[in-house]
Symmetry: C2
Subunit: 151 residues, 2 copies
DNA sequence: GAGGATTCCTATCTACTCACTAGGATTTCG
DNA sequence: CGAAATCCTAGTGAGTAGATAGGAATCCTC
């Protein structure tokens, strides 16, 4: 699961993307997206350090996207807030780390499955931009009721 | 990322699947898969309660799969150890929960993307069984070196 | 029925992370 | 100068992860 931090980050960035290229203070975003103000402040600092947003201080300061919304992917943001997309370190590219207790990584059945998952997840999250999300993702089987199996 | 618990659980189950339908004590599995003994004991208790393994006590007791390895999926195991596969509660089927701060769930851009991810992940993990994993997953772009982008 | 090997149950511990808050320094504009 | 904003440093409380300990219950062999 994504952390609250990650979810808030994406919501805030979508807020900015929707109003591109305008600039907004943390208070405005926090109110618009129902995010605790001080927490969002910390999150926006991370986004700035990672080059996702640009900030100006002082009176009428605020944050805006550092790049057009179609050049910011979900994958990039999530890696900043939550780390690897992969389910195991040994199946990650950006955060690769071998498992201490693994005897033969190349033959590891677990790793092969997890690598497959990582590839699919990355295929979506690294290709979907903020702009895409605002346009709508296209036909997705959306889940409006609780159903047994699958989630 | 998967918890250590989840990773150990899958490793232990693959150990049993490889030697189906034999039965093994925690000590043997722990040694074979480099898992802390007492921790594995707790994990196997979860697996038993969930109906994944059957256990017999006493001298020459141990654990074995409660079903053939081709009827146990990765998804089922991971949900026991780590909860939802989905990245957001509102995009999960088995663990659905709405986001408190969400104003219009149906229109939520975030949820649509996350639902798509969940569908893909579930497509793999709920279809891949322990037996599949032992056979090898087929052609997967495996990641033997650290590469920028994608993980 | 004694003894050893095993699972099972309950309890506890330490370290860490998450989610959030507080308070104030700094910058900018009017 | 003063209001409004970001920025910085800290800290807090709750929860969880990853184990470990100790012993009760169970079962087989002899």
């Amino acid at each position: 699961m994504l952390s609250q931090r990650g979810r808030y980050a994406l919501k805030a960035l979508l807020f900015l993307a929707r109003r591109e290229p305008e600039q907004f203070g943390v208070a405005a975003i926090a109110e618009g997206e129902q995010i605790p103000r001080k927490f969002l402040e910390a999150i926006m600092t991370d986004m700035r350090k990672a080059g996702i947003v640009e900030s100006t201080r002082g009176f009428s300061g605020g944050h805006r996207l550092a790049r057009p919304a179609d050049l910011i992917t979900f994958g990039e943001v999530i890696r900043i807030t939550d780390g690897p997309l992969a389910l195991l370190p040994c199946a990650s590219r950006n955060f690769y780390k071998r498992c201490e207790d693994c005897r033969d990584e190349a033959a590891c059945a677990l790793r092969q499955v997890m690598a497959k998952v990582r590839n699919e997840v990355s295929e979506i999250l690294d290709r979907t931009t903020l702009a895409d999300a605002l346009r709508g993702v296209g036909p997705v089987e959306l889940l409006d009721e609780r159903v047994p199996e699958g989630g």
